[in-house]
Amino acid sequence: MSETNLLSLIIFAPLTGAAINWFMGRRVRSEKFIGAVACGAVAISTIVAFYLAFKPDGALQSEAPLLDHLWTWIQVGKFRADFGLAMDRLSGVYSLFVTFVAFLIHVFAVGYMRGDKGFYRFFAYLNLFMFSMLTLVLADNFLLMFVGWEGVGLCSYLLIGYYFDRNEAGDAAKKAFITNRVGDWGFVMGIMLVFTMTGSISFFEKSAYGVTSALQTINALTPDPFAWHMLWAGGITTIAIFLFIGATGKSAQIPLFVWLPDAMAGPTPVSALIHAATMVTAGVYMIVRCNAIFSHAPTAMFIVAIIGAATALFAATIGLAQNDIKKVLAYSTISQLGYMFLACGLGAFVAAIFHVITHAFFKALLFLGSGSVIDGMHHEQDMRRMGGLKKYMPITFATMLMGWLAICGIPIWAGFFSKDEILWKTWSATALGANAAALPNGAAKALWIVGAITALLTAVYMTRLMVMTFWGAERFREAVTHDDQPGHHGEEHPYAVHEPHESGWLMTVPLIVLAVLSTIGGFIGVSYALGSLVSSHPTNYLERTLEPVLASPAGETPTGEVRWLSPPPAPHDGEPAAAIIGTRQSSAEIHSAEEVLHERLLALTSVLIALAGVGLGFAIYSKRPLLQMPSLLNNKYYVDEVYDATVVNPIKSGSREVLWKFFDQEVIDGLLHALGRTVTEVGGLVRYLQIGFVRTYAAIILFGALALIGVFSYYGVRILLR
């Protein structure tokens, strides 16, 4: 199929854009050219992705994935890794929003980064990031996905450290990369175990190339029971936990989340693209892609859910106390990612992907909006010095309002539908995984409580952010000293009161588009219980698209429907199977009336919680916007200090004292010096052979002669006596 060669265009267009900008950008020096190349490359990816997804028999409709085998990369014995792309329903949906949101952010960045000396470098890195991210999403095997995984980590490092003349940017970049690396260890262990267990690392079956699907193989095995010892038993649960460790690194969950707040040292479009919408959701994508593995490992799923919920609450409490506008959003991202992992952990993979999508919309909007605010405030990031901006930056204000409503979970904005679905799936979860292993008593309800509290806190701190930034007194007019400004990047202005200004169209148009998406984006995945309130035949488009390729939460399998994981068990790859789904029962029969009622009540509860949070935020912060939050929260529970003391400093001093001073200097260098000394000593002895001292020569001749005589006489006597 020559059409699917279009798939490679999706990833190679940004790569080409990066190459053009990198090699020609420095000489061309025209921001319009560089920006046009970069945005154009991503636009090409977007258009191709949309075309391939939505065309008749495209990725979103067909049962089999669109495959594009580019070349065979590694083939050693049984191990085979191809450079091959695959767009099935999951990666199709993912690539749609990734490319589109990325396009909007690229356009924004052209406006935001104007006048910067490294303009070409920034867009080269940004396009390189898109190449890596799309490789990650469209990869058809674990190893290529890992290539993309590493690539996005690299580009994150390059972009966080973009302002390389600032120490904290370089430190943050290193921290991000190293923390990611720790997670990558887990990921690679997981991949190796998958290969050991199944003999393949491909997601899809490609019988034309003799490649079996590792996921299908695992799917056919018996699921592991829910038991803690399964974690180290070397089976499917161990694989799942290793993969999850990789996900915690990339998607900033406990314990590897510490890099993300520091990553705010990078330019704001980077924070929006990488650390909100795309890279950090790669962990979620990987887990959903491997849902076959996870649904056979209920112990691992439970751990995923617990860590997701814990991270969500933990980060929300910290976000409440931050004063830098970007740090609040960073902790908010960590918290929302926790929700996604909570959903994955309970088997609600569709809900997780739904939240990924809506989160991409509203979080990118919030980050870009904050970028607009920062730019309009002449690079001021501390909210304590903002206030009353709504009349100076009306468009930014209006769009951020949409994002705020979305993240708080107010219906009809997008965040409500996705967050509510996660909370409902949490409340109603009874069992985990393919063998319906029972959840511990009350675990689901406890997780729901954590989620609900987090939702409340989310509403509170987002309201705090909005109130401190846009309403109230114009605190930026008060004279303040420059001493206490940690994150002051860009040119140093001699301090005068700068009038905040609204941003140009390059920045406001993407904001508007994202605001629209945040408002109506939720309608792609309205659940039955809510949709049936307004329509008699509600369709949950997202669920309908993704269901055939994902395992459903335990205890929820409707009868009469064959479920499989990509690709379908067809004899030929790339063609739909003959007998696919049995007659699908109508949605009304699948959802019992009691369930629907419960879901509606829970949705109402969510709305009330959100409104309570908003109200609380207004009540507290509109009166006292500068209210000091507890310093434990402000100092992020001293997590970084704890890590420094327990991990970083022992490693540093261990390296310095033991490895360097002792081992390198004394053992290895000592060995070398001893070798040298030995050679010198031996040489000192050997030099007597040529000492110039004639009598020594005579003596040596004598001894040599004696030796020869001795040898000859010895052997001669032996012969004689025989």
Partner: protein, 102 residues
């Protein structure tokens, strides 16, 4: 006992040879070293002649001729070198001719 035995000649030769060797090593005077070298050569000559007489084979005596010739030639050349060194250094001490040392 019917005349001197072979082993006596050989013993004498060995003793002379050893004295010559020790002399070469110990003596510092170049001329004395040369005399000891001649002594060694003559000891070997004695050995050859003794064996030649004992086995009634004339080859040993032939070899003595050769050795003598070589000894003479070598003495000529060696003395020429010594005279040159003596002219340069005014000393016949072989320890002082050690310019090639490390």
């Amino acid at each position: 006992m019917d005349g001197p035995q072979l082993s006596w000649y050989l013993a004498l030769s060995a003793i002379l040879f050893t004295i010559g060797v020790v002399g070469v090593i110990i003596k510092r005077n170049v001329i004395a070293m040369f005399m000891c070298i001649e002594l060694m050569l003559n000891a070997v000559n004695l050995t050859f002649v003794a064996f030649s007489s004992y086995f009634r084979d004339v080859t040993g005596q032939l070899f003595v001729f050769i050795v003598m010739t070589v000894a003479a030639a070598e003495a000529a050349v060696g003395l020429g070198i010594i005279i040159t060194i003596f002219r340069n250094r005014e000393s016949l001490d072989v320890d002082e001719a050690s310019v090639l040392k490390l």
